[in-house]
């Protein structure tokens, strides 16, 4: 029989979206002086709110507020007291978790199951983890009394809006820095809700400043002379621009950029779990993941079998309303991103790769892309080289472990990789040779505040998470 799951929408009533939002500077919401912009729900293109845009003067105000807060309040504050603020924030995030999850799904398009079970719990965990470091920095291996850097300018992407905020703000604050953070223009709402959480936590004004806007705002922030450290997560092209902007300034910079991860499946893998790992690797968060396993490298002797199982599994993926608790794949975040995915997919078809998607009904309104797999992809195809940042998997094959590693490393990126084999020594052999900052063996897309994350080569530099994540925010 056919077992249809009835719609199971999460209630929107838990969130209260205001008509318009200002900038959060020095503990207050204030008007911006740029042209306000609209943020929309990518699942139905409905306008959610008008959002202020920070111009250079607004950026300057935010940086000044952060400087004063750094010098007068946050910098001199004992680590143990900073820790308690961060613990308090972590607790409020847990208390308001449903609200954050629903708002994230509405503004971003990601399935509620992910924002509820992955994003928001990790956000709380991140603050909880770094809170504990605030009064233990002398034990972190950076000298007996490491000092904060000062004011951090942070620019984050739209794929994990609140989680990326946590990755940036939690370690910065724990180390005694103050921050000016710019969320992505398509997903500003949870950052602005976080501003409210800062107020509920009585965080001193100016310690966290949230400024909204698009590329110009971001450029003004990273170029501002009052910023001591820049942290950016986003595309490799923008990362390059920022590195050029900061050239010769001596300012600290960490970049977490693009990727084209290889997910290597050896013939002896636990195939059912490998198929889950492939699915999780590329379809998690609509493939809007810098570390997505977008290149499946499968050993030729099991390629057919893996592909068959993969297709059967893909046919069970549920694409649709992000707020439906049974949705596996939500909406593409923006029209612009959808265009990119379509363009690269079309190019791949022209290059001769075989395209397949399971039958699935996509909603009429909003931005949608069916889960897609390309077979017969060669290393020379654009889709095997360029980051697609969408639910699109390229399948390549290999014959020997050496060939797998060579192909996996044959990219300017080096963020992540996956290995599937039941042979322990082969895991370690492969992991040693992969030029990537995160290697998931017999699992994929796992994140934890205790675990350093970041790339090799053009995937950027610096690490976020763990003890390593402190270094970017300490004057060492």
């Amino acid at each position: 029989m056919v077992f249809e799951y009835a719609p199971a929408p999460e209630s929107r009533s838990v969130v209260d979206i205001r008509g318009s939002y200002g900038l959060f500077i020095d503990g207050e919401f204030v008007d911006g002086h740029g042209e306000p912009f609209k943020t929309i729900n990518p699942a139905d293109e409905a306008v959610l709110a008008d959002v202020a845009c920070a111009d250079e003067a607004d950026v300057d105000r935010a940086v000044k507020a952060a400087r004063i807060a750094f010098e007068r309040v946050w910098g001199p504050m004992p680590g143990a007291e900073r820790a308690k603020y961060l613990y308090r924030i972590a607790r409020i995030i847990q208390e308001r978790s449903r609200e954050l999850a629903v708002l994230e799904s509405i503004d971003n398009g990601k399935p509620i199951r992910e924002s509820r079970d992955v994003d928001v719990p990790l956000v709380a965990a991140w603050f909880f983890y770094y809170a504990g470091w605030a009064d233990k920095l002398g034990h972190a291996g950076f000298g007996p009394d490491p000092k904060p850097v000062g004011v951090a300018g942070q620019v984050i992407p739209w794929n994990f809006p609140l989680l990326m905020l946590a990755w940036k703000i939690a370690p910065a604050l724990a180390c005694g820095n103050t921050v000016v953070l710019k969320p992505a223009e398509t997903t500003p709402l949870t950052a602005l809700l976080f501003a409210d959480i800062c107020r509920q936590a009585d965080l001193p004004p100016g310690v966290v400043n949230i400024i909204t806007g698009a590329g110009d705002t971001g450029r003004a922030l990273v170029a501002h002379p009052g910023i001591d450290k820049v942290a950016f997560t986003g595309s490799t092209d923008i990362g390059r621009q920022i590195a050029r902007t900061l050239a010769g300034t001596g300012k600290k910079l960490t970049l977490e950029l693009g990727g084209k991860a290889a997910n290597i499946v050896y013939a002896d893998a636990a195939l059912d779990q490998a198929v889950e790992g492939i699915v999780n690797g590329i379809f998690f968060n609509q493939g809007h993941v810098c570390c997505a396993g977008s290149r499946l490298l499968v050993q030729e002797s099991v390629a057919e079998e893996v592909l068959e199982r993969l297709k059967a599994r893909m046919a069970t993926l549920r694409v649709g309303d992000p707020l439906d608790k049974n949705t596996d794949i939500g909406a593409i975040n923006s029209a612009a991103q959808l265009d990119k995915i379509r363009e690269l997919s079309a190019a791949s078809e022209q290059e001769g790769a075989g395209r397949w998607s399971p039958p699935c009904q996509l909603p009429d309104r909003g931005f949608w892309f069916a889960p897609t797999v390309f077979t017969g992809v060669a290393q020379s195809h654009r889709i095997a080289r360029e980051e697609i940042f969408g639910p699109v998997l390229s399948v390549l094959t290999f014959r020997t472990p050496e060939e797998a590693v060579t192909k996996a490393n044959n990219t300017p990126y080096g963020l992540s990789a996956g290995i599937w084999t039941e042979k322990g020594s082969q895991i370690l052999w492969t992991a040693q040779r992969l030029r990537a900052g995160v290697v998931w063996a017999n699992t994929f897309n796992k994140f934890d505040p205790a675990s350093p994350f970041g790339g090799y080569k053009e995937s950027g530099f610096g690490r976020e998470g763990g003890r390593h994540g402190l270094e970017a925010y300490l004057n060492v």
Binding site: F3, E4, R113, A270, D272
Partner: protein, 303 residues
């Protein structure tokens, strides 16, 4: 096939990563089945129940009461489907067969020195023949876990073949007793072993060993029947048994079937729930859906 080939085959099956399998089962368990889907799932689950009593204290009276419940789970509501089968010890088969005459409900009997299986093969076969002779339409045998764990797959295989032969027309469910096999790799191997030896169904547990059925164990068994059909064309059923107590539990198993083996298995013919107490919870939830009011245990029969 020689014993060596059998061993080579079983050890050549892809491994099961425990963490990955449990994660997958947990994720499927988080599906939200509401309203019309829930109503449909509850009726389906009721129709899949093997209503079971396997106590030393079982009497004819107890079995008759159970059979009455099986045919009319909720006497006040004739739209409630009947269960799939009643599951009893061999000496109670006759009582059950008589009680269920004309209902279309099957009589399953555990056999082969259930639950331990620690008896000579002849005794196990006699046990089976007696149950079949008394009218059992389904036999739930146990495998020799000791032989399996010692690597003596040949013995396990031959015993299943012999019991299958003794079953005649009765369907054979092979109980793996996964709680004693412990690892998912063993569960997968035992599933294939049982299927290749002729099992019509593979069943998780006797209910006498903890843990009994779990979602990840059932997931691994559903993968096995799916792959076995893909390889041979023959479809084998799955029956988790023991530990399924609530409607929520039952629905999680249905989701697991739906998204692992697929809709072909979503019938009482190919999927059963070995349970007893779950039935009243299913009835209670069913009434909540139809009346909108939470019900209580006093409104459903305890048999």
């Amino acid at each position: 096939m020689t014993v060596t080939e059998l061993q080579g085959f079983l050890h050549g099956l892809p491994g099961v990563d425990q963490v990955g399998a449990e994660e997958r089962a947990a994720r499927l368990a988080s599906r939200s089945i509401k309203t019309s889907a829930k109503a449909e799932a509850i009726d389906l689950a009721i129709s899949m129940v093997d209503l079971t009593t396997l106590e030393g204290a079982d009497t004819a009276g107890k079995v008759r009461a159970l059979c009455a419940k099986a045919a009319h789970p909720d006497p006040s509501d004739p739209s409630v489907p009947k269960v799939a089968a009643v599951c009893v010890y061999p000496d109670m088969v006759e009582v059950a067969v008589r009680s269920l005459e004309g209902t279309g409900i099957g009589v399953a009997s555990v056999a082969t020195a259930f639950p331990s299986g620690r008896a000579p093969l002849e005794a196990k076969l006699a046990d089976t023949r007696a149950a079949v002779a008394a009218g059992a339409s389904e036999i739930d045998m146990v495998i020799d876990r000791g032989a399996f764990l010692s690597g003596d797959y040949g013995t396990v295989f031959e015993q299943i073949v012999a019991v299958k032969d003794a079953c005649g027309d009765a369907h054979l469910k092979v109980i793996l007793e996964t709680g004693e096999l412990v690892t998912y790799d063993n569960v997968r191997r035992a599933s294939w072993l049982a299927m290749r030896a002729g099992a019509d169904f593979i069943k998780t547990s006797t209910g006498k060993v903890s843990p009994a059925a779990t979602l990840p164990v059932t997931l691994v068994m559903l993968e096995a029947v799916r792959d076995y059909r893909a390889a041979t064309g023959r479809q084998v059923g799955v029956k988790p048994a023991g530990g399924i107590r609530t409607t929520k539990d039952a629905i999680k198993y249905l989701v697991l079937v739906n998204e692992t083996a697929g809709p072909d298995w979503l019938t009482p013919h190919w999927f059963r729930l070995g349970a007893s107490s779950v039935l009243n919870d299913l009835l209670m939830q069913r009434r909540k859906l139809s009346t909108g009011v939470y019900s209580g245990p006093d409104y459903f029969t305890l048999d």
